[in-house]
């Protein structure tokens, strides 16, 4: 299951919030300043060479990276003019500390209402950058820090590139967001680094959750000519420049990496395979990017750039890009500043954690708390054997982390010492936060909390990781129900960023604030959910997979039903989702939801039979490697006589999603459709080009067909009307 790994996307293109763009927030202008400097050059007769060094600096610190909007590009244009007019031996471009430039202000672009504006920004960037690639004076990019999107393209327009060894983020993330590098990236990178490396950077990395290059990757891929130590990066870049000019440094580079027909074909084929695998053919941007990479081989640069510009305009004016920008903002902003969280100052410090239960979930939780909070974690279970097993499981995971080189041996010792087991609840007497992950039965959980309350302090938070039970009911008989909160993780706990924090009837603000305060160090993006069966994410997903199971039960061939959602490009098919959750768990949750909500959540008799037959998986692969229903499972599955077409199944499943999302919102389970979108992105890995799900339902008209109205007006996460 794909996930949005936040640390990978942290510094992706500077994007303002929707609100900012809508308010016409003024551009934070990156000024370009030209300064003439003399660089010692022993082999030059005059002893030095003159460099026009252009510094990009928006006057803010590194937390507000340099971006290039119309005013910034105008400033760069003027800086290039003064550089050229000075008649230097070379022109070089560099950034402010830690940042080169991270490209266009995408939120601005994402709010363009007309093609002309989109066209203009593409043309402006190309025209200004092109002055560098056309320059008769040698041009150098000193990439001193983060360079993404248009920032990296600016560097590609220069003849030579040095890179600082500490540069944090280097990428062309455009395809990830539904557009493509439109300031020359698709035309220049193949020329500089060869088609295969261009495919890696423009398509593969972008679609791999926007993976950034490390400096050594950039060097290996030929994106830069040399990596220089951060300690005296600019001085050594200037010395390197002098070496290039006096001939003592030579840069070996063959146009297109010397690729012949075979390499070209292989590179493009690889790109297509990656795009198919990641988007199932349903995102346009990677395919358009591949076409443009291919074009670069046969077309001169200016023709190629014109083509790139036209495609960029099309994509900027696409629903996918609008959804992509919206999704990006959710992951970057809403996940970090969760809506509805109480005043953080109410949060109580957590310096010791208890975990009740020693099963798989419990040991995952214990490791997560120990590793991310570095506080003592006590696990407990009903008997010594299970407890030992649970502690041993944590230890195994710690050793695995060491084996992968993720943690030092000191850290192994520290974590090992932090995680202990106890059969006695007295071990929780000084805990600040106890989370239970015991068997999913209300009376069992109530018992656990009642017993726990005899031992813990009155202000110790009691959290439950239940996925379907009522948190309020669990707290009902306690002396202090106000300190109970739902803390719902998703499997695998270490990887999935989604965390549903459930406010029960009596949960007080301090408890809720403590739960939210934990999310950040645990590296989770929480959403606030009201105590309702299935909460938000599972309720949406079970409703949706339920429609698929029902369609099969009714007689739709399993492959037709399971493949019906293909056009969305979800990371996995509905049956795969059921298989991954586990048929037994899936059945149990469906039953719980059915009890609460009735026939919207049917319980598939076939699924029950499959579970009773002891099947833990549903799927198999045929000789061609295609995913099919496991023949043994298929044998049990009793199909009805009312088959549907794929289209009918899709409409039905999407309508169900729209209906359930609307109900979740109307019931106030979450505050905003944005929370549902964030949940399916971070909990389910649903693609950016759907914007989670509600922008897709809006733009396809499903919302209006299903519930009579959209989730958001046109222009928010979708193209304007």
């Amino acid at each position: 299951m794909t996930t949005i790994e936040k640390d990978r996307t942290t510094a992706t293109p500077a994007v303002g919030s929707q609100a900012d763009a809508a308010n016409g927030r003024p551009e934070v202008v990156t000024k370009a300043i030209t300064r003439l400097i003399d660089v010692p050059s022993p082999r030059t007769p005059s002893g030095s060479i003159r460099v026009a060094l252009i510094t990009l600096d928006n006057g803010r610190d590194h937390t507000r990276p340099n971006t290039l909007g119309p005013l910034g590009l105008a400033s760069l244009d003027a800086a290039i003019t003064s550089a050229v007019e000075a008649g230097p031996d070379a022109i070089a471009v560099t950034g402010k500390p830690f940042i080169f430039a991270v490209g266009a202000d995408l939120s601005q672009i994402g709010s363009f209402t007309g093609r002309e504006t989109a066209e203009e920004i593409g043309a402006l960037g190309q025209r200004v950058f092109r002055r560098l690639s056309r320059s008769a004076i040698p041009t150098f990019a000193f990439v001193n820090g983060a360079a993404m999107g248009g920032g990296l393209e600016l560097a590609l327009h220069c003849e030579y590139r040095t890179l600082a060894s500490n540069a944090a983020m280097l990428s062309l993330p455009e395809v990830f967001l539904g557009v493509l590098p439109g300031w020359g990236g698709t035309q220049l990178l193949p020329r500089i680094a060869g088609p295969d490396n261009a495919v890696t950077v423009i398509v593969e990395n972008a679609l791999n959750q926007n993976r950034a290059m490390k400096p050594k990757d950039a060097l290996r891929l030929g994106v830069v000519d040399v990596v220089l130590d951060a300690a005296d990066y600019l001085e050594q870049s200037l010395a390197w420049l002098a070496g290039v000019l006096d001939g003592s440094v030579t840069v070996a580079r063959t146009e297109f990496g010397g690729a012949g027909d075979e390499e070209w074909a292989a590179a493009l084929e690889r790109g297509k395979l990656i795009a198919d695998m990641r988007t199932h053919g349903h995102a346009r941007s990677p395919y358009r990017a591949l076409e443009l990479i291919e074009l670069s081989r046969t077309s001169d640069l200016d023709t190629g750039l014109a083509a790139e510009r036209a495609v960029l305009t099309d994509l900027v004016m696409s629903q996918e890009f609008r959804a992509g920008i919206y999704a990006f903002n959710l992951v970057q902003r809403r996940a970090r500043k969760p809506a509805g969280a109480p005043d953080p100052s109410l949060a109580r410090p957590v310096s010791k954690v208890g975990v009740i239960g020693a099963g798989l979930m419990a040991s995952q939780l214990a490791l997560l708390f120990a590793r991310q909070l570095h506080v003592p974690v006590v696990i407990t279970d009903v008997d010594q054997a299970r407890l030992d097993k649970g502690v041993a499981a944590v230890q195994r995971e710690i050793d695995k982390l060491k084996g992968k080189g993720r943690i030092s041996s000191d850290e192994v010792n520290r974590l090992t010492a932090l995680v202990t087991g106890s059969l006695d609840y007295a071990a929780f007497s000084d805990a600040d936060f106890v989370v239970e992950a015991v068997f999913e039965k209300l009376d069992v959980k109530k018992q656990v909390f009642a017993e726990l309350e005899k031992h813990v302090r009155a202000d110790c938070v009691l959290a439950t990781n239940t996925s379907s039970l009522s948190v309020s009911a669990m707290a009902g008989d306690l002396l202090h129900p106000e300190r109970v909160v739902g803390f719902h993780f998703f499997n695998p706990v270490a990887v999935m960023p989604l965390l549903e924090i459930i406010r029960a009837e009596n949960t007080d603000d301090a408890t809720l604030a403590t739960a939210f305060a934990l999310a950040k160090p645990l590296k989770k993006g929480p959403i606030l959910v009201k105590d309702a069966t299935g909460f938000a994410f599972n309720r949406l997903l079970i409703r949706f997979t339920g429609e698929i199971l029902t369609s099969i039960d009714e007689g739709t061939p399993p492959d037709v039903a399971d493949g019906a959602l293909e056009p969305l490009g979800l990371p996995m098919s509905p049956l795969m989702l059921v298989q991954l959750t586990g048929p037994e768990v899936g059945l149990h949750v469906a039953e719980t939801l059915h009890d609460s909500f009735g026939d919207r959540f049917p319980v598939s008799e076939n699924l029950r039979r499959i579970v009773e037959a002891g099947h833990r998986t549903l799927l198999a692969w045929d000789e061609q490697g295609r995913q099919i229903l496991d023949p043994e499972v298929a044998a049990i599955w009793q199909l009805g006589d009312r088959p549907s077409t794929a289209e009918q199944v899709r409409e039905r499943a999407l309508r169900a999603l729209a209906e359930e999302a609307r109900l979740i919102l109307d019931e106030g389970v979450v505050a905003d459709a944005a929370d549902l979108d964030l949940a399916v992105i971070t909990g389910g890995g649903w693609p950016f080009w759907l914007g989670g799900i509600t922008p897709y339902l809006d733009r396809e008209g499903v919302s209006e067909r299903a519930v009579g109205r959209r989730f958001a007006p046109p222009g928010v996460a979708t193209l304007p009307a």
């Binding site: 660089v39 010692p40 030095s48 060094l53 252009i54 402010k96 130590d229 005296d232 200037l238």
Partner: protein, 441 residues
């Protein structure tokens, strides 16, 4: 320390015999010096970064020295807070990318900080504790005005331990004029003008730039720049112009901005190793340390410090001033240099003194200056095989002086410049061999 150090006679049970080792100066570099104000070239550049550039340049110029062989990084700063704080010898070593196994410390003897860094690690080398060490200093006087954050004990004044003027360096220079009435303002101005002239000539003749490491300078307004030269010098300074300057430390006084060193920013560093390690690694030996001494004087006339420290160092080495062919003396104030030359019977314009000019022209970033003197003396040794001994000396606030005596390994050889020094000329490629000005001869 160097020449007459036979193994200590030891009783059978007194442990292993010790041999003192020769300490040699292999390489020295500095940043260009900048004006210590908000318009200076380092206004927005960190002090510790200046040290980092120096350390990396030392290593670049001496690729024969494996970084893990460095046993110490001693960096001086007078004010050890902010970007000069946090044990700058250690932090700069880490920032420069030296192996973590290389230790470092911060050291302070006000203006003689870098000199004391050198004598301290040299003593460690001599006794066998270190094989190789980096010693240097930094002062970003723009970020750290002299005396910043200090809280002098009230007893200094209440108990008349020192006169209040002892804490103001300009005032101590005026006091020096009082003590030596024949050292007039005019003589001080003449010395200052000569310093500017000698520096301008040395710069033109390629004697200065080869010892500099260019530093990238940050400026939000101007963009990145590259500091490649000293910013303080005022070539063409005339006696007439100097005579018009006001005397900020005393009405109708004698000490002016023109006959003093200016407030400046900069860093220096050098590489010292034991002579056997230099031989093992094939490192060039540019100077051999003969000995050193520090001495205390009246804080109110701290400028006399170099006199007793030099007497002391010469006496310990069994040398006299007549044996010294080159003198690099820090020009905190012209009058303080004149007090020194006057004492030793040297002319105001003795050609042995500061042949490249001095701090009056270049600037004096307090704790860094000591190593600048040594780096320049090493270059002069390379050009002057006829000179056997030279000294580096300086006055120190609160009444001290420091002197280090060096021997020229080229002494007695035929060539004008040893191949040993060529490696250090790579910064701008100026080839000393082909320099025919002979201005210092």
């Amino acid at each position: 320390m160097a020449t007459a150090a036979p193994p200590r006679p030891t009783a059978p049970d007194a442990g292993p015999a010790r041999t003192l080792r020769d300490v040699v100066f292999v390489e020295g570099v500095r940043t260009p010096f900048g004006k210590a104000d908000e318009k200076g070239q380092y206004a927005d550049t960190r002090a510790d970064d200046l040290v980092v550039k120096v350390i990396r340049e030392l290593l670049r110029r001496q690729p024969g020295l494996p970084p893990e062989r460095i046993d110490e990084v001693a960096i001086a700063a007078t004010t050890q807070t902010g970007d000069q704080g946090l044990t700058i010898g250690r932090t700069a070593a880490i920032l420069a990318g030296l192996p973590r196994s290389v230790p470092g410390f911060a050291i302070d003897r006000m203006c003689a900080g870098a000199m004391t860094a050198v004598t301290t690690v040299a003593s460690g080398i001599a006794v066998g504790a270190y094989d190789a060490a980096i010693a240097g200093g930094v002062e970003h006087m723009g970020h750290h005005p002299i005396g910043e954050g200090s809280d002098p004990n009230p007893r200094f004044v209440a108990d008349r331990l020192v006169d209040p003027s002892a804490l103001n360096m300009g005032a101590t220079a005026e006091n020096l004029h009082d003590r030596y009435p024949h050292l007039t303002r005019q003589r001080a101005d003449a010395f200052a003008a000569a310093s500017q002239e000698k520096y301008a000539k040395a710069l033109a003749n390629g004697k200065i730039t080869p010892d500099l490491v260019p530093v990238a300078t940050r400026s939000v307004e101007l963009g990145w720049g590259l500091a490649g030269s000293d910013e303080m010098a005022r070539p063409g300074t005339t006696l007439e112009a100097l005579a018009t300057l006001r005397t900020p430390f005393r009405p109708h006084g004698r000490v002016t901005a023109g006959n003093s060193s200016g407030l400046s920013d900069g860093a220096t560093g050098c590489l010292l190793v034991s002579s056997d390690v230099a031989a093992e690694l094939g490192l060039p030996v540019r100077m051999r340390m003969i000995g050193y001494a520090f001495a205390g004087v009246d804080p109110e006339t701290m400028g006399t410090g170099p006199i007793p420290s030099t007497e002391k160092a010469l006496a310990k080495a069994g040398l006299t001033i007549q044996d010294i062919g080159l003198i690099e003396i820090n020009e905190a104030f012209a009058v303080q240099v004149l007090a020194f030359t006057d004492h030793f019977g040297l002319a105001d314009d003795d050609e042995r003194v500061n042949p490249y000019g001095g701090a009056i022209a270049m600037g004096h970033p307090l704790a860094s200056s000591g190593v600048r003197l040594m780096t320049q003396l090493a270059r002069q040794f390379g050009e002057r095989p006829d000179v056997r001994y030279g000294i580096t000396t300086m006055c120190v606030g609160l009444g001290m002086g420091g002197t280090v005596i060096w021997e020229n390994p080229l002494y007695g050889s035929d060539s004008e410049a040893s191949s040993d020094t060529e490696g250090s000329d790579s910064a701008d490629g100026t080839d000393v061999d082909h320099d025919t000005t002979g201005s210092t001869l």
